[in-house]
Point group: C2
Chain length 334, copies 2
């Protein structure tokens, strides 16, 4: 049996108890510098005694500031974005903001509803790792003058601000690196999604300059699961002239391919090399350790929140694109 709903104290109750007006209690929360120390002390005491918790629904409505930030990501199960989400969540809660989490799903199918929900809650900002492909929605967000931060990718024409790095450049760097190490027959295992394709294109473009044959490219479904590596390996093992290096769209895939290769009796990297992407913890811990591309996901999250903070102080922010770069990390696997 649940107890009857207790009466929840409101701002006015605190004000009466402290012997001040509601305006002053409101200022105690939102602009403490301007309330007299003695008054503040009485208010603090009243709040304590009553166990008062401000109603942010009412506060948001009155101030036209929800302190809600919508964070929209494709998924979290095996997501490379999780460090970014963690960093954002920690930073945002420091400022008294709340994260509204939206999972857009494969192909960002639920993106429209989630954008709608963010607007309905009057979110102060929307942070995305997925991509809004619908031009109507992009235009609508621009019209509303909504703060929108697109992360991980760097669109040619950001809706508002973008924090990320060039996926094309990643592809080019990996191609250059492998060519430099003397590999001649790469195979690309490319996940669905715009960014993975940008990396692929960067790779192919750069590889063309080496004079070697064009790499085999195979597509891997999203979301990336460890099990997809079996598919990749099966494909490889059926090729008449197998690749000397397998470029994987993620570290999870790379780890899986290595495990499959090893269990089929192949030595990595001697008989077949493997490259990952993302520099997850497993990349360094795997035996052999995995050559991969490091992206500082947490930094992306922090930079995104930093943009929000600057906006909050009235900063216009001329820079539409914040490039955090990436690092190719050469380890044992390639």
């Amino acid at each position: 049996m649940k107890p009857a709903k207790a009466i929840i104290p409101k701002l006015d109750d605190v004000a009466q108890r402290a012997g001040v007006s509601t305006a002053t209690v409101s200022r105690y929360y939102n602009n403490p510098a301007i309330v007299a120390p003695a008054t503040a002390e009485r208010i603090r005491a009243a709040i304590d005694e009553m166990g008062y918790v401000p109603n942010l629904l009412a506060g948001g409505l009155a101030s036209n500031r929800s302190r809600l930030v919508a964070v929209l990501v494709p998924e979290i199960a095996q997501s490379i974005f999780n460090d970014t989400i963690e960093a954002m969540a920690s930073e945002l809660s420091l400022d008294g903001n709340t994260v509204m989490l939206g999972l857009t799903g494969a192909g960002n199918a639920r993106m429209p509803q989630l954008i709608e929900a963010a607007l309905a809650r009057r979110a102060d900002a929307i942070i995305l790792t997925g991509i809004i492909t619908d031009d109507g929605t992009r235009e609508r967000l621009r019209e509303r003058a909504m703060t929108v931060i697109e992360t991980w990718g760097v669109p040619e024409d950001p809706i508002d601000i973008a924090v990320g790095f060039s996926h094309q450049a990643v592809g080019r760097d990996v191609a250059r690196f492998l060519h430099g190490r003397g590999y001649v027959r790469p195979l690309l295992a490319v996940a669905e999604g715009a960014r993975a394709r940008q990396r692929r294109d960067g790779f192919l473009e750069e590889w063309r300059t080496t004079g070697h044959d064009a790499p085999t490219v195979i597509d891997v479904p999203l979301p990336t699961r460890f099990g997809h590596s079996r598919m990749v390996w099966r494909h490889v093992s059926q090729m008449s002239t197998p690749p000397d290096v397998i470029v994987c769209g993620s570290d999870v895939l790379a780890q899986g391919v290595i495990i499959e290769a090893q269990s089929a009796g192949f030595r990595v990297p001697d008989q077949v090399a493997v490259v990952g992407f993302g520099n997850l913890a497993i990349a360094g811990d795997m035996r052999p350790s995995i050559t991969t591309v490091d992206v500082d996901g947490a930094r992306i999250g922090r930079e995104a929140v930093a943009v929000l903070r600057r906006r909050a102080t009235g900063d216009r922010i001329a820079q539409k694109v914040i490039d955090v770069g990436f690092r190719l990390i050469a380890r044992e696997s390639a």
Copy 2:
């Protein structure tokens, strides 16, 4: 240069355009069955033309129902709870609810602030995977008659409703299984945290009945990282009489231990067996595949949301604890 903030249409604007009162437009959203079809059609048209999006801050304040559900988890980076979160997020958005994500951090350090935030936003419910250890907070939530769903664990005295399974029973089952397979010298790698300890206690209790020596127990820090497996393996390799089976607190740890063991030239399970926990995708895909305990995390999420739905219809819900059980899955590693 951002465009000036566009004027956002409000309920009243829609009402005027449709030639009805605001009450009717409100009913169109919240109780469509009672508005006349022709009226509804006019309202729909007005909404479309104006691109109206209801303000849920105002709606929540007026109706005393925020449609916000706080989901509080320790972390998401490598979390075994991610399937639960995903399932909850999908189900909740189906009902027009929004997930407020809170990361409580190691040792649930940020739990108090996040509970406070949930109360401040007048969340309709709080769903936890972590544990509220502070009795004052537990009591306070009870007094507020807050809907609180504790998941994964099954506390002796739930604040409100609990959805999970018995971790003690898991420990006992694993002990019985290993004894049945003829193992005699288990080593337990136990993560910090109340539930891991419950599994340990269940194991030790059951193992005592076998007559074998008490197992070695080593503690592993949280959050579980793949790298911790190296620590476990180092410990094992220094033992004078090494274990014949290593019981790991998670599949990630188990996978790491197997990789370490293999790279040290040990055969798994012949020379040392390994057991995991959680049945992540990697458990089935690893070579050897990992013997583990399957927990249907997504189901826990769905059951939790189902409880919310029943509450919403006025159901009292006599059952304080919903046990979803678990399954021991015997694979190659033990």
